[in-house]
């Protein structure tokens, strides 16, 4: 780490009300004296409920790229729905892994700029994790093509994964954030990713696709390792700070 000052250094953070000994009490007094807007606090929930009853969904599954999916699914309606669920979740993982590669790109740049700590992340490990994310992306692309689906289509769950990841991308790609701050954000992604791969393996098993489930177990093992490794790095960082070996806390 070669940047200074650090976010846990004391400086003039102006967000708290106690920093304004005159204006702060004036704000409180002004709000207390004024009437609140009329109405019941349930009003907001009522509008949400009303819209929920009127609107459609975010989007639908795309039509298959070939007839293979439909043929595989057979005629049963229930089975077709299960296929769509599996394809939606495969699409979600594919989107997540694609973004995961880019998150590691940003983490590597941050580590190169800021350095690491004792038993913290190394370039080699981050590069290896990145390669694994890229491999998972390629694997899912093959799986979807083999199932007759279009891997470039954005499924509803894939779309929402992009929304979920948006905040993480913002934290990791911001040049003002430190490596521990960025890793903390990335841990959110890894926690969701590992849990979602578990869900996907279970789904393939339930679906009777044992060979697919087998293929998905290796990425699951990788993702569990990513999750645990990043957790260990962050714990180690906190321990070094607590022990006084590092002069910055975040």
């Amino acid at each position: 780490m070669n940047r200074a000052p650090r976010p846990t250094d004391l400086a003039l953070n102006r967000t708290g009300i106690y920093l304004s000994p005159t204006d702060g009490p004036a704000m409180v007094e002004g709000a207390r004296e004024a009437p609140s807007s009329p109405g019941c606090t349930r009003a907001l929930a009522e509008v949400r409920r009303q819209y929920a009853g009127e609107v459609g969904v975010i989007g639908h599954m795309p039509a298959p790229a070939s007839l293979q999916v439909v043929e595989n699914a057979g005629a049963a309606v229930l089975r077709r729905h299960r296929v769509h669920l599996l394809l939606d979740k495969l699409g979600e993982r594919l989107a997540f892994e694609r973004t995961g590669v880019r998150l590691f790109d940003a983490l590597i740049a941050k580590l190169e700029a800021q350095g690491s700590w004792d038993r913290g992340p190394s370039l080699a490990t981050l590069a290896q994790f990145r390669a694994e994310e890229a491999h998972h992306f390629a694997l899912l692309q093959d799986v979807l093509i083999n199932l007759g689906a279009d891997p470039t289509a954005v499924t509803p769950s894939a779309d929402l994964a992009g929304v979920e990841l948006a905040g993480i991308v913002q934290v990791v790609s911001d040049p003002r954030t430190t490596l521990p701050q960025a890793l903390h954000a990335h841990l959110v992604a890894e926690l969701v990713d590992s849990a979602s791969w578990e869900l996907l393996v279970d789904l393939a098993d339930d679906f009777g696709e044992s060979s697919l489930a087998h293929k998905l177990r290796e990425p699951l093992a990788h993702e569990l390792r990513h999750r645990d490794t990043i957790t260990t790095w962050l714990k180690r960082h906190a321990a070094l700070v607590a022990g006084g070996a590092l002069k910055y806390g975040a």
Binding site: G30, P35, T41, L44
Partner: protein, 402 residues
């Protein structure tokens, strides 16, 4: 403190250049920088955008001097870019809206307080109490949607309490038009104030229109639609204050003078040295723009530019909290509305306005919904145990026995 617009030298146009790195600098800190640093960036960005819009419109109406307009416009555009890009990425759209509303309230209050023409001052105060209420509704949205405190952005400079209720701000279009000032008789300060207020209103309108659809929550989407509509009214009001008999060169001159006025105020009050350097640089740019347009005006219209713009600016914009003035206006004018070009008690508003307002609110009022029974409290309304512990579930249905 004064600024002599005739004697101060600006930066020659050929030296008003940028690089991409220069345009994209380290942003201000949402946490550490002063709220008024953020407000200055918003206000200066707004007057830059107004200048760019005017210069585009001038060309589309067949104005001469297309090359000069294009040259200056390109610089203004890059100035606006640099200012916007100083806003940090960890500032959410809703936090930006809180900041935009604070800029409208605080700078709106200052120009209203300093405005020498009583009628124009009244119009500016009308807008002020409406922006003030928008801030309260946005703060309620921030607390109730995201569980966050708007005061982390406002830094206790601006009260969070109801103003003229947003639901009562919707007026028929003809009731948003005001009498225009007389170009030959009115003080230059009035001409500048009308432009600064108009630029801020336009900026807030565009901001609400851009940001509103980025929300998923239906109440947030509705609230932004409602606020954008009021800001459209405010743009209408501000535009209508300006004498339409001004020549286009006269208008151009006033736009440039308004920019100088804002940058000078920014420079005089800035606490962040990095941002202060930007104000210093851009004030020098605008002084040169003003000089160029002044020479063009005098050559073309064969009259002294000091008939239109002041030779000396006598008082910079202060960019300081206006709590006392706002509370005074709130206490005396919250019940005011407008009918035609006049300001009237709200119960004397026109039938057209009453009917327009009733039509819009037929399916409910977003600004009332979001802030129903909302009272700001430091941190969140949840700091109040009565609210924190209140049931959020609807009352159970009564058994009918059938």
């Amino acid at each position: 403190m004064t600024l002599d617009l005739l004697r101060e030298h600006g930066t020659p146009l050929e030296r008003q250049v940028f690089t991409w790195k220069d345009l994209v600098r380290e942003p201000i800190s949402k946490l550490d920088d002063e709220a008024f640093t953020r407000v200055r960036l918003i206000v200066a960005g707004a007057v830059e955008q107004a200048a760019v819009r005017f210069q585009h419109a001038a060309v589309s109406f067949g104005a001469e001097h297309r090359i000069l307009l294009a040259d200056l416009r390109r610089v203004e555009h890059h100035q606006a870019t640099l200012l916007r890009w100083l806003q940090p990425a960890d500032q959410s759209p809703l936090e930006s809206s809180i900041a935009v509303a604070q800029a409208a309230v605080e700078v709106g209050a200052q120009v209203a307080r300093c405005e020498p023409d009583p009628y124009v001052a009244q119009a500016l105060r009308l807008g002020l109490l409406e922006d003030f209420d928008h801030l309260y509704r946005l703060a309620a949205l921030m607390d109730r949607l995201e569980g966050r405190d708007a005061n982390a952005i406002l830094q206790s400079y601006t009260d969070i309490r109801p103003g003229r209720p947003t639901a009562a701000q919707h007026r028929a279009p003809e009731d948003d038009l005001r009498r225009w000032y007389d170009r030959s008789a009115t003080a230059p300060a009035t001409k500048l104030h009308a432009r600064i207020a108009g630029a801020l209103a336009y900026q807030a309108r565009d901001h609400y229109l851009d940001v509103g659809p980025t929300f998923a929550d239906p109440v947030a989407r509705q609230l932004y639609a409602e606020l954008a509509s009021v800001k459209e009214q405010h743009v209408t009001q501000c535009e209508s204050l300006v004498d339409p008999n001004e020549t286009w060169l006269e208008k151009w001159l006033l736009h440039e003078a308004a920019e100088v006025h804002v940058y000078w105020g920014c420079l005089c009050s800035e606490s962040n040295p990095r941002v202060r350097a930007v104000w210093d640089r851009f004030l020098a740019y605008e002084l040169e723009h003003l000089r160029i347009v002044r020479e063009l005006f005098e050559k073309t219209e064969m009259r002294d530019a000091s008939e239109v713009v002041p030779a000396v600016l006598s008082e910079p914009l202060a960019f300081a909290g206006e709590r006392a003035f706002i509370r005074e206006v709130l206490a005396s004018e919250v019940e005011l509305g407008a009918a035609g070009t006049e300001f009237v008690p709200r119960d004397a508003e026109s039938r057209a306005t009453q009917s327009y307002r009733a039509q819009l609110a037929r399916d409910g009022s977003p600004s009332e919904t979001v802030a129903a029974d909302y009272r700001w409290s430091p941190g969140t309304e949840l700091a109040d145990p009565r609210i924190r512990d209140a049931s959020i579930l609807p009352p159970p249905l009564k058994a009918t026995g059938t």
